[in-house]
């Protein structure tokens, strides 16, 4: 038996197909979830994919956060359901207050698409167990609103509790405070990051690297061994 991993499609979601493919590539069963359905179809974990839900109007993630599917996800995430938010998904998670802080427009005010070097700071989350803490990976990054901000106290807390999950290396591409590329909640089941692991699962396309596959194998192993 393998694990069922859901990928949510909001109006304006773009990377749902890629995320479904990444789930399949890792060996799990991909399940499409629709924003209007409260029903999560008994999935074992959820990916909030990248894109521009509701056009990123108002604020990235602000409108999607109030969708019916999010009601269930918010509730179940608090009870331990593994949730990975990629890019727009990360933005939705902060808007939903499942993760602290907020996302603002890149400090250079342009959309940025590049191959980005990251350090995985912790292997202690549901989505990073297949990496070692300190491991460096390179995966695509592409966003307009990628600048992570939070007040000093929150930042200190995140650092102290080992909840900064990913940090930008070489270049901070958007002005994120303390080079933060992604964070986790205290329980380690909810993880959000701006770069795109789902775009780095096959050597043929994208940047030609597979550094992102570990996110999906991590969760699969955790679920299957559970």
């Amino acid at each position: 038996m393998t694990a069922r991993i859901g990928v949510v499609t909001f109006p304006g979601t773009l990377d749902d197909q890629d995320s479904l493919r990444a789930v399949r590539t890792a060996g799990a069963e991909p399940v499409s979830l629709w924003h209007r359905d409260k029903d999560l179809k008994q999935v074992d974990a959820v990916v909030l994919a990248g894109g521009f839900s509701y056009g990123d109007y108002l604020r990235a993630g602000a409108i999607a956060r109030f969708s019916p599917v999010m009601e269930t996800i918010i509730e179940q995430a608090k009870a331990g359901l593994p949730v990975l938010g990629i890019c727009n998904g990360f933005q939705i998670l902060t808007e939903a207050h499942l993760l602290p802080g907020g996302m603002l427009q890149n400090n250079h005010l342009h959309f940025i698409c590049r191959e980005q070097k990251l350090r995985v700071e912790t292997s202690g989350t549901a989505w990073t167990a297949d990496y070692t803490a300190g491991q460096e990976i390179r995966i695509p990054l592409k966003n307009m609103d990628g600048r992570y901000v939070a007040d000093e106290r929150t930042l200190d807390e995140l650092e102290a509790e080992g909840r900064v999950a990913f940090r930008y290396l070489d270049v901070n591409p958007n002005g994120s405070l303390r080079d933060i590329a992604g964070i986790t909640n205290a329980a380690g089941n909810v993880v959000g990051l701006m770069p795109h692991p789902e775009h780095a699962v096959e050597p043929l396309v994208g940047t030609g690297r597979t550094d992102g596959l570990g996110f999906f194998t991590s969760i699969l192993k955790k679920l299957v061994n559970a």
Binding site: L14, R21, F52, F111, C113, M144, L204, G206
Partner: protein, 749 residues
């Protein structure tokens, strides 16, 4: 104000009408009266004026474009040719690909962000209307001088608009061009292209047949966007602003378009439409008249049912509105409910606005009163045709006589080195990544090659690895020197780029950007360029599947360089065999394919070093281009080369610099005995490429070239961390990288 009904028009034949303000000529207005046997109503006048504008009717270019349909190469790939929203070619395995390039030049000058954004939106809807899922976009761009203050206004806005729209649609941007030249100062060129993929059986046409079938308008509400935009902005230089000529700008909503795409694809999957058309320039006027004209019957539309954003719009304005993100479908009555259901699922507003009739007229009603009663063909397909006078410009001979080969050349190795650095850092030759990094090239997870590769390439089947490639090229400097040759050089370069990536060129689309057709000099350039392109396509075996003409790109008396942009589409059976441009393997041998002549006319060197434009452009030999392409494709398929880069503007040194920087490896170059080092580095002879060959493949590769008669010269080896031209100079890669990459951020960041 009383409604100008058909009845009212018949009763008031002498009423004054603003045909002139709407851009119609006196004889055109007379012809409308003759067709109708009465004066047109206001709504009819609005329809004819937009549909007979240069932009919609191609009235000045038609007689020349005809050649693309007459000189058609034998090519089984063509499934749908010129005349539809976009052409369709067969790429094998049951797949068909549709692609097209369009211009949004004038709107982008007025409002760079929205102009460029809606340009992307428009071309994507064209592709969607063919039944295809859009899979990638490209954006050939031309701006004024890089350091001109207005370029600082226009370029960042255009780039943000293309990115803002395309990124939000989830379409990878896989290629394009950025060219700076003072001739585009008041007339930047913003061309946008899109590729779509479908199965053969999914091809849809813009045609309304089947009496009783419903006409459904779906997508955004109709507002006052771009009213008069089509006839005014595209037909006249926008300096002459009359009363009706306010630059009403269209504003795009990419989120709405994304919903429209997904909704439409779902509708296609369930086979719910009998005909479909996007709403672009001329809005409902265009969609209803084209659908009705292409179909067998007539059409009746209740215009007051159109959902409005602004309730004060008059019927004329509704007909002319260019509100974005709208489509029009013809649907059998028993499929309407399901159609509307899918629209509801995607939060897309859909309204039945009329039906197909068994008559022959397009009839439009406003609250029960008839305001339009016209034969649709006369609006959509039988507009005026002009055979405008043209003549070789008086200055052409002097321009060609001003030979660039006679310009002062570098005196010594130090100066040669300095000129290389100047060249690779000049705005036209510098890295474009400050721009292309604002475009998402990864989305959809199928991008195999994207900038700065020679061609963009996407996988279209995950199981078989079937893929398509596209490149766009155009060199206005060459075309200015000789438009016939210039158009063929654009074709040849684009064709070569596709082949260099390992894909087989199949067909082309073009975007022809020129000055005013009322100027005989410009008209000659246009005639020559189209003749060159048609002849070239015939010889290369690549049919023209469609394209776009943008005229009146001029400020006062000064026209832009004639700028035919050619997009070549190629197919590759197995994308794992693609050839990148990067020299990445130390020790591999570098070979130059093709012949190098002393050809500096129109070259980047002549522009950068001497600010000169004169002489003749490089010669074209299309048989040679074909042979080169065959060799590049075979070599990629059989694994004989690891990298290839075509040679074009900037010549050999530009290509080698790009390939070295991309791969992060240096090169040692040896000037071939027969060549002078300056000519070796800077000449822009066509029909050439440089390839990187693993040592184990050297014999096999050179034997193949020898056997097929393609000149092949060993010019060096991939090695170290500098580019060294033996006996002349060397430049560290780091220095080259800084020179190449700092220019655009320096100007625009």
């Amino acid at each position: 104000m009383t409604l100008d009904t058909v009845k009212h028009a018949s009763e008031t034949p002498e009423a004054e009408q603003p045909w002139k303000e709407l851009g119609l000529k006196e004889d055109e207005y007379a012809r409308i009266r003759e067709i109708l046997g009465r004066r047109p109503t206001g709504a009819e006048l609005a329809m004819y004026s937009v549909m007979w504008s240069e932009h919609c009717s191609y009235k000045s270019s038609k007689v020349h474009l005809k050649q693309f349909g007459e000189k058609v190469p034998v090519n089984d790939a063509m499934l749908v040719g010129i005349g539809e929203n976009a052409g369709v070619v067969d790429v094998g395995q049951g797949y068909a690909v549709t692609f097209k390039v369009e211009s949004h030049n004038h709107p982008s000058y007025i409002e760079p962000y929205q102009g460029a954004a809606t340009g992307v939106g428009g071309i994507v809807r064209d592709i969607l209307a063919m039944g295809a899922r859009p899979v990638a976009v490209v954006d050939p761009l031309r701006f004024g001088a890089a350091d001109h203050p207005d370029t600082r206004r226009v370029l960042p806005g255009v780039v943000a608009g293309i990115g803002g729209y395309g990124n939000c649609l989830g379409l990878p941007n896989i290629g394009g061009e950025v060219v700076f030249d003072a001739c585009y100062q008041g007339n930047p060129l913003v061309n946008a292209g899109c590729i779509g993929v479908m199965k053969h059986e999914d091809i849809h046409l813009a045609k309304a047949s089947g009496p009783g079938n419903k006409v459904i308008l779906y997508g955004a509400r109709t507002g006052g966007d771009g009213i008069g935009g089509v006839s005014v902005l595209a037909s006249e230089t926008f300096e002459s602003t009359g009363p009706a000529k306010r630059p009403a700008v269209q504003v795009g909503d990419p989120f709405q378009e994304k919903l429209l795409i997904e909704c439409t694809l779902e509708i296609f999957r369930e086979q719910l439409v009998a005909g479909i058309q996007d709403l672009g320039g001329a809005g409902l006027s265009c969609a209803t008249s084209e659908l009705a004209s292409a179909g067998s019957g007539g059409m009746r539309v209740e215009l007051d049912t159109v959902p409005l954003r602004d309730s004060s719009l008059s019927p004329e304005e509704i007909l002319m509105s260019e509100s974005q993100e709208r489509m029009c479908a013809i649907v059998e009555p028993d499929k309407v409910d399901r159609f509307l259901e899918i629209c509801e699922k995607w939060d897309v507003i859909a309204t039945v606005i009329g039906e197909v009739t068994d008559g022959s007229q397009l009839e439009i009603f406003w609250h029960g009163e008839q305001i339009v009663d016209v034969p649709p063909r006369t609006v959509a397909h039988e507009g005026p045709v002009y055979n405008r006078p043209y003549a070789r410009p008086a200055w052409q001979d002097a321009l060609q006589a001003d030979d660039a080969n006679k310009l002062a050349r570098p005196a010594d190795a130090a100066e040669l080195r300095e000129q290389v650095l100047k060249l690779v850092s000049s705005p036209n030759q510098a890295s474009k990544s400050w721009i292309t990094d604002q475009y998402d090239r990864f989305v959809q997870g199928n991008t195999v090659l994207a900038m700065p590769e020679d061609a963009g390439m996407v996988r279209i089947d995950e199981k078989t690895n079937l893929g398509v490639a596209m490149a766009t090229d155009g060199n206005g400097r060459y075309a200015k020197l000789d438009p016939y040759t210039g158009a063929q050089l654009a074709l040849a370069e684009s064709y070569r780029n596709v082949a260099a990536s390992g894909a087989k060129p199949l067909a082309i689309s073009d975007c022809l950007n020129f000055g005013s057709p009322e100027d005989p000099d410009v008209m000659w350039q246009f005639a020559e360029a189209t003749r060159g392109l048609a002849d070239g396509c015939l010889q290369l075996g690549t049919p023209v599947t469609g394209g776009n003409v943008s005229l009146y790109n001029q400020t006062g008396e000064t026209a832009i360089h004639p700028t035919p942009v050619v997009a070549v589409l190629g197919v590759i059976d197995d994308v794992t065999r693609r050839t990148p441009v990067a020299f990445a393997e130390e020790g591999q041998l570098l070979y130059l394919l093709g012949d190098t002549h002393e050809e500096l006319g129109g070259s980047a060197w002549s522009q950068v070093i001497h600010d000169h434009l004169g002489g003749m452009p490089p010669k074209v030999d299309l048989e040679r281009e074909k042979l080169l392409a065959e060799i590049l494709i075979s070599a990629s398929r059989d694994g004989m080369i690891d990298a290839a880069h075509d040679l074009s503007d900037g010549g050999l040194i530009q290509a080698v610099t790009e390939s070295c920087l991309r791969g992060g490896k240096g090169a040692r170059l040896v000037v071939p005995d027969a060549l002078d080092s300056f000519v070796f580095l800077f000449s822009e002879s066509a029909g050439r490429a440089v390839v990187s060959v693993p040592r184990s493949e050297e014999l096999r590769f050179t034997d193949m070239c020898g056997a097929r008669g393609l000149p092949v010269t060993r010019i060096g080896v991939v090695d170290g961390d500098e580019i060294e031209v033996q006996g002349e100079f060397s430049i560290p890669l780091s220095e080259l990288r800084t020179a190449h990459e700092k220019t655009l951020p320096g100007l625009f960041a």
